[in-house]
């Protein structure tokens, strides 16, 4: 196998008019174009009915309820609470964490149970209009768990009662930008093969908190 003349590569990349190629290269060009046309033939099969049947059998895996209903069901599920602290890098963030830790019992967070805990999500997103968390614990659904920045210092935070154990998550900033948590304890591949990583939080049960 010998290298193809760069002019032929350029023609195949659409960067050169194939009509400008010398005759011997035009032959190779025509051969590869003809091969491509052969490969473009569509397979005469369909898996649409098979896929839709599978989806209809188990439709609930994709978000099928509205966010409010899902949140209501989630909050009403008799969950328990633990507190998880993450390192801070500024005094303001430390203050925010302290506030979060002091407030939860009066802010509507459900009473902690035995096998669940509170995940504390904190991110520094100056100028953001909205920040939310999506993850494996809420089927990656938008509109369920929003972070707040009440004092407008760019530090957004929220608590969530979660089952103890590992949970993958991402921040969604301004409704469109997916961002890993730079302070996450761990990261895991998102499983779609492009080298993107989800953040991972390991929630400890309330009984394990010091």
């Amino acid at each position: 196998m010998s290298p193809i003349d760069p002019r032929l590569q350029e023609a195949l990349d659409g960067e050169r008019d194939p009509g400008d190629l010398p005759a011997d290269l035009r032959e190779g060009y025509a051969l590869l174009v003809a091969a491509t046309q052969v490969l473009k033939a569509m397979p005469p099969v369909s898996v649409a009915s098979r896929v839709m049947a599978e989806i209809r059998q188990n439709p609930a895996r994709v978000q099928s309820d509205g966010p409010a209903r899902r949140l209501f069901r989630w909050l009403g599920g008799g969950r328990a609470v633990t507190v998880r602290l993450r390192p801070v890098w500024t005094l303001a963030l430390a203050a925010g964490l302290a506030t979060v830790l002091l407030v939860p019992w009066s802010s509507g967070i459900p009473t902690p149970g035995v096998a669940q805990g509170i995940a504390n999500f904190v991110g520094h997103f100056p100028g953001a209009r909205s920040v939310e968390v999506v993850g494996s614990f809420n089927d990656w659904s938008r509109g369920v768990l929003h972070l707040n920045d009440d004092d407008h210092d760019g530090i957004w935070h929220a608590d969530a009662v979660l089952p103890a154990g590992p949970h993958e998550y991402m921040f969604v900033v301004d409704g469109e930008r997916w961002v890993s948590d730079p302070l996450a304890d761990h990261y895991v591949d998102d499983g779609f093969g492009a080298g993107q990583q989800n953040s991972l939080v390991i929630v400890r049960p309330v009984s394990a908190q010091p």
Binding site: I4, A35, V38, L39, P43, V62, W178
Partner: protein, 184 residues
């Protein structure tokens, strides 16, 4: 309710809003290309149909994780490409077995020369493609058969654009060498 011509981003929102049937629009839109891609990757139509069906179900289950529904096509090809790679890995090789690719067709007495030529062409090209390593085969098919830009290919494979260009160039060289050997 969205119609068949609605942009991907609207259809995805409809599905995530609870209308699972709307996913059928996306299937109709992308299934033919995905099936062709998987068939070229695996060299076997049945295995390709399995790979695409599994990929579409997986895409539905994880639709909320599609970070940019405006680039849904690349995301679907990425999932399908991963499924094809898993399938090839189970064979303990990245190459298609030539037994999966039909040999050049033999004409019976009723065939015209044109049909014979066409049948031979298809088998010849498919076998030349099957002889490529999986990464080069994938790059060539995405570029020349599925008509993707290098940017779309990068999103669909996770590989860098210079790497993809090199794979496409090498695939062309190998294919041209194989085809010229037969033609001459």
């Amino acid at each position: 309710m969205v119609n068949d011509g609605a942009p991907d981003i609207e259809v995805v929102a409809q599905v995530l809003g609870g209308d699972g049937e709307a996913f059928g629009i996306l299937i109709r839109r992308y299934e033919p290309g995905l099936l062709r891609f998987a068939t070229r990757m695996l060299g076997n139509p049945d295995a390709a149909a399995d790979a695409v069906a599994e990929s579409l179900v997986r895409a539905y289950r994880h639709l909320a994780q599609c970070r940019d529904p405006g680039r849904l096509r690349s995301w679907l090809y990425r999932i399908t490409g991963n499924r094809c790679r898993s399938h090839l890995a189970r064979r303990h090789t990245n190459d298609i077995s030539l037994s999966d690719v039909p040999a050049p067709a033999l004409a019976d007495s009723s065939d015209t020369w044109a049909v014979l030529e066409r049948g031979e062409q298809v088998a010849l090209v498919e076998r030349a493609l099957a002889a490529l390593p999986a990464e080069k085969r994938e790059a060539f098919v995405l570029k020349h058969v599925e008509g993707m830009s290098y940017e779309e290919m990068a999103a669909a494979t996770g590989a860098r654009i210079p790497t993809l260009k090199m794979r496409v160039h090498r695939a062309r060289e190998a294919l041209l060498a194989a085809l010229e050997e037969v033609v001459r």
